[in-house]
């Protein structure tokens, strides 16, 4: 009914009556004056439909007056000579008021229906849009954009932060920036009650701050600009804002629950991984311990019953199993250190040849007579690396090759410079990696399908990757076309190797290296 009381409506009604009067003036000679009343009635009905009740009544009164003055004899006076015209006047007025009221009512209903439809449509659109948003900030951005679009005002959304304040996540910073507005946002967050026009306005607060609540306070506030006090108090608008707030709150709640579910899921999986790890570790630790305990107790309790070779064998197995246990514990410690980040990589300039040589010397007892071919590019400079850690990489790779290729088949190490990196490739002549294992072999406790020997806990390659990555390098596994596996380590070469002063006064020249 916004337009019914406006001047425009009355002007329109007057215009219509004027038009009817003009038409009547033209037609008056050809028709009876009683027929002209029909024309005026039409005008009143049109006014009612177009402009509502008050203009319609105005039109009716005006019509009666003009009809009486212009067309009812005696003309150009308000006197009425025939009583039938009094009835006409009464009927005209009554019809005008009744149609006016009826049509106006219809109009109101239509307008309300339209408004409801618009509101439903925008709510539907918002809920649809929110349903596909996965994160808090996405939800709030979408909501704020749609609200400011729909209401034609500035809007913003803030969430509570760790320090008990509020952080803007979407929308127009301008409407929450001022001190009082900011305080109102924090207060709305804290108490879960709307603040600002029309819910009581502390000094300086002009916007409306709606806390978002879905069962529980979800810790977010929607701030909406208020163009003026009348609009701010408009119940339709408030209903709309409430409906929007509920939708957003529900979307946020859904998002939070999804996050919680995800966290729980991760925790369950971590737990499962940990228990697998524990059972794997305890098995790997207990096996050598069982062998040691068995052999040692046999030696202790069967003095004189076992011959010398038998005793030697038992002692030998104790010593071997102890060594195996020692390696396993070493690997576990190393892995833990790498994962906890305790290791600082202490890079210095090292000779790769020397590191490989030291690794081979340590592996001598395991390798026996197996050929290990080392080919290093002639121009290899000193390489920036942590020698203690990198020696482990080389050792683990050779150990791995030794374990997974037939005894006596050669293991090859090849090192070269490739652009700004050192590339070290370790290859064996074993069965190679199973399809899809190229990445998995670097997972801890993963043992390849053909891991026949029980020795090793599946940590060696995981340690390699940890150390190489701590150096800023990469390590990948692949199968060689000729058969067997190859592991390629790339270490970045940064900086210039330091120079070594030559010997000037030596009796013999420095040999070229």
């Amino acid at each position: 009914m916004a337009r019914s009381g406006s001047g425009k409506g009355f002007a329109g009604a007057v215009g219509i009556v004027a038009g009817v009067t003009l038409a009547s003036a033209v037609l008056q000679d050809r028709v009876e004056p009683s027929d002209l009343t029909m024309l005026y009635l039409l005008g009143v009905v049109i006014s009612a439909i177009a402009f509502g009740r008050a203009p319609a009544v105005t039109a009716a009164l005006l019509s009666v007056a003009l009809f009486d003055f212009l067309f009812v004899p005696p003309r150009f006076t308000f006197r009425v000579s025939e009583s039938q015209f009094l009835v006409t006047f009464a009927v005209m007025l009554a019809v005008a008021v009744i149609t006016g009221t009826l049509t106006a009512h219809l109009r109101e209903q239509r307008e309300r229906a339209l408004m409801r439809e618009r509101r439903l449509a925008s709510l539907y659109r918002l809920s649809h849009d929110l349903a596909v948003r996965g994160s808090v900030s996405e939800i709030l951005e979408t909501a704020v954009a749609q609200i400011s679009d729909l209401l034609g005002v500035r809007a913003a959304a803030s969430v509570s932060d760790a320090r008990g304040g509020a952080t803007l996540v979407a929308g127009d910073r301008g409407i929450v920036e001022a001190g009082p507005e900011q305080a109102a946002v924090v207060s709305a967050l804290l108490h879960g009650r709307p603040l600002g026009c029309p819910f009581g306005e502390p000094a300086g607060v002009t916007a409306l701050h709606m806390p978002l609540i879905a069962g529980t306070n979800v810790g977010a506030v929607l701030s909406i600009g208020v163009p003026d006090r009348t609009a701010g108090a408009d119940p339709e608008r408030l209903d709309m804002i409430r409906a929007f707030s509920n939708l957003i709150a529900l979307a946020l709640e859904r998002c939070r629950l999804a996050d919680e579910t995800r966290v729980t899921q991760t925790r369950i999986e971590t737990e499962r991984a940990r228990s697998v790890l524990l059972s794997s570790v305890s098995h790997d630790l207990r096996t050598p311990l069982a062998a040691i305990t068995g052999a040692a107790s046999t030696l202790r309790d069967s003095a004189g019953k076992i011959d010398e070779p038998g005793r030697r064998e038992l002692a030998e197995s104790i010593s071997q199993e102890a060594e195996r246990l020692n390696r396993l514990i070493g690997n576990l410690l190393e892995m833990t250190r790498l994962e906890s980040g305790v290791h600082r990589v202490r890079k210095d300039w090292h000779s790769l040849e020397e590191v490989i040589g030291a690794s081979l010397a340590l592996l001598e007892p395991d390798l026996g007579s197996r050929p290990v071919r080392v080919s290093l590019a002639q121009d290899l400079p000193l390489i920036p690396m942590d020698d203690v850690l990198f020696e482990q990489v080389v050792r683990n790779l050779i150990e791995n090759a030794n374990k997974y290729s037939p005894a006596g088949s050669p293991i090859e190490l090849h090192a070269s410079l490739d652009r700004d990196a050192l590339q070290l490739v370790v290859t064996d002549r074993g069965e190679g990696l199973a399809v899809g294992d190229e990445e998995r072999v670097f997972e801890k406790f993963y043992r390849g399908a053909q891991a026949v020997s029980a020795s090793g806990a599946g940590l060696g390659l995981a340690i390699c990757r940890g150390i190489v990555e701590a150096h800023g390098g990469t390590i990948v596994a692949a199968n060689r076309p000729e058969g067997g596996a190859s592991f390629t380590v790339r270490l970045p070469l940064e900086g210039t190797p330091p120079s070594v002063e030559g010997e000037v006064n030596g009796p013999t020249p420095l040999d070229e290296v």
Binding site: D348, V355, G357, A361, V388, T508, D511
Partner: protein, 245 residues
Amino acid sequence: MSQSPGQDLGGGPSTSALVLVIEDETAIRRFLHAGLESEGYRSVEATTGQEGISQAATCSPDVILLDLGLPDMDGLTVVRRIREWSQTPIVVLTAREQESDKVQALDSGADDYVTKPFSMPELLARMRVVLRHRARVESETETVIVRGTLRIDLARRRVTVEGATVTLTPLEYRLLATLARHAGRVLTHKVLLQEVWGPSYTSQHHYLRVYMAQLRIKLEVDPGRPRLLMTETGVGYRLVEEAEG
């Protein structure tokens, strides 16, 4: 390392030598005792650093086995205290992984180390080296060191491989001679740099890497798999005590 005269060895064979074991773990003391006795060594034991230091003074041991992880005091402190008045060889028993501990122990005056867990033969080999070295310092007789095909004559400053003279630069020779004078023992980077290049070079580790590579090319059959000049990664270098084959 220290060149001052060592503790009195009585000139006798090292197998009758007295070993002081400073170790708090009963299980380790027990097997050390058994292992040492069976090799003809006599042994005395201490379970704390304090007790160890006083035993070192009262018993005049020929060699000391010192655990670095003692309950009452830091093993490094024990090394330094003993070194204040005694040159008795010290072999440190250390838990794995911490190369810096080994280096510190060696730089504090320990003669060598074994990493736990170690085997008895490994420990006995290390003890023999330090005892022989101590004897050598006293008698100053051994000036020719032979390892496989390599022969180093310290008196004549001559190095030969399979009888053929190898020409070394002065620094190469000094490096080799330093390792040879302490043959069988590990020398830390710091000690080697100080002995060969001088005190201002002790952090220039890359010098060692370059010169060791040069020495290996001239002396080793396969420089990539050295049999004579061994690397103790993170600690230092060692000229082997006995060349295999």
